[in-house]
Symmetry: C2
Subunit: 305 residues, 2 copies
Amino acid sequence: MIFVEKLIELIKEKKSVVCMGLDPRMDNDGQIPKYLIDNFNKPNEIITEFNKSLIDNAYDLIPIIKPQIAFYEKYDALTALKETINYAHKKDLLVILDSKRNDIGSTSEAYAHSNFKVYGADACTVNAYFGIDGVQPFLDYIDKGVFILVKTSNPSSREFQNLFTAEMRGIPDTQIETTAKEIKLERNYIYMARLVNKWGKNLTDFSGYHNLGVVVGATYPDELKRIREILKNSFILIPGYGAQGAQAKDIKYGFKSEGLGGIVNSSRSIMFAYHNKNYPPEKFGKAAREEIIDMNKKINKEIGI
Amino acid sequence: MIFVEKLIELIKEKKSVVCMGLDPRMDNDGQIPKYLIDNFNKPNEIITEFNKSLIDNAYDLIPIIKPQIAFYEKYDALTALKETINYAHKKDLLVILDSKRNDIGSTSEAYAHSNFKVYGADACTVNAYFGIDGVQPFLDYIDKGVFILVKTSNPSSREFQNLFTAEMRGIPDTQIETTAKEIKLERNYIYMARLVNKWGKNLTDFSGYHNLGVVVGATYPDELKRIREILKNSFILIPGYGAQGAQAKDIKYGFKSEGLGGIVNSSRSIMFAYHNKNYPPEKFGKAAREEIIDMNKKINKEIGI
């Protein structure tokens, strides 16, 4: 089944646009509970056990999960990643692998294969600094979803992404310096959104959306609004809810009038909800479930589903 | 030992600036020889055997190797990656892991750990679309090297990297649209080089170079020249030699007068040299060695070492 088609079906069925991020952290207090680390010896086992419990508590409430591959690489636990994705599929959840891979075409082919065939994801995130060469191999998997980084949620995202790009309309490169007044100024992230719009032009739509989406941080609501206007047929993956500071009111501009067009990711606020809610570590699954129910309620009120 | 210090030592000792890319490909003719694929059952074993033979034939001629992690992920062969890096270290070679990782700070921390501690690389490549937040966790490993993507070797790199960035000198954001004439225009990749220059300002130098380098494709010699002028204390990793079309004369602008400041990567032209030289597959190591000797000769003539 086509990624975006299935995503829309699950959003409508579960009345939820929440994506549960699965970024296992074992280093500090308030992360994977110590009793799990003690009971299971190896990172692969600890993480698989933790993730399965979270999925058991969440699968009927949400359409999709998003494992961040960096943490599986950190703990040398890619087996846990594969088992998590496999388990999520059994529970009828979709999976975005957050890998942000990027390279020249022939290397991106290898990354697309690893993301979709080795790890088994339904979609992944891609950094498009290389241009279409590095993106096309992912789009060649026509049933899979691809989310291009446009405006990221971190504070220093402004350093490069917010630079003003001088768009040249029909002016040869050699005359640019002398014709500055004719230049239309836009920020880099807006130009990236426009590139995505161009790349998506010939993709097949399902209920008004195609498989090429973007990533825009919930921490930047004004930017989210601008990008929603540019990309009418793309889903927006919106990270940064919760631990990174964004709230339900910040994400509403990522959605279209029918309440579709966005998915809102939260990782730490769900996974480690037991800490904020002062539950004993053994109740981490229950705490995560309550946090998701709360997120669904707050977000659905804002987007009107 | 500090990455850049060791790199300079090995370049002088071996009189070579060649980096051997190790991007194992098993899909088509002219790649990893069929007899190896038949003799060794599993990708981890096939790739480890192939890489070790290449290292045996190359280690006395070059300072450094660069495995491209995408191919190890594609074949689910990260054990081969770790064994290759470990073996290269035994042969006194440095290792750049070509991973182009990128994310928000707390996630980049996990990537830096995996690149340097799990896989064991001495340096890695990083995509800096996120700004300094996503780069700093790599720089925090003060003995390791970091190479930021500036101008990549692929054809569509122009699509985003060559956009003109309108640099605002002391003009508030709100007045920008009305003061277009005061704007200084530069391309995105130049601005990225300037960011790298800024981030490198406080790093410790060894013989005039610090651990923060950049990646600039050999396929763009004019851009290489510009970037060399901006980044006086950075090593430039120059990919694209050979299979991607660049020759020895194209890379000379990446070097400073003493013949230092650059390393030239070739992957396919070395690994699969037996094919171009019409050697039997069993002679792939000998063919690779001859190709490296040829590269050293041609490049050293251009850069004057």
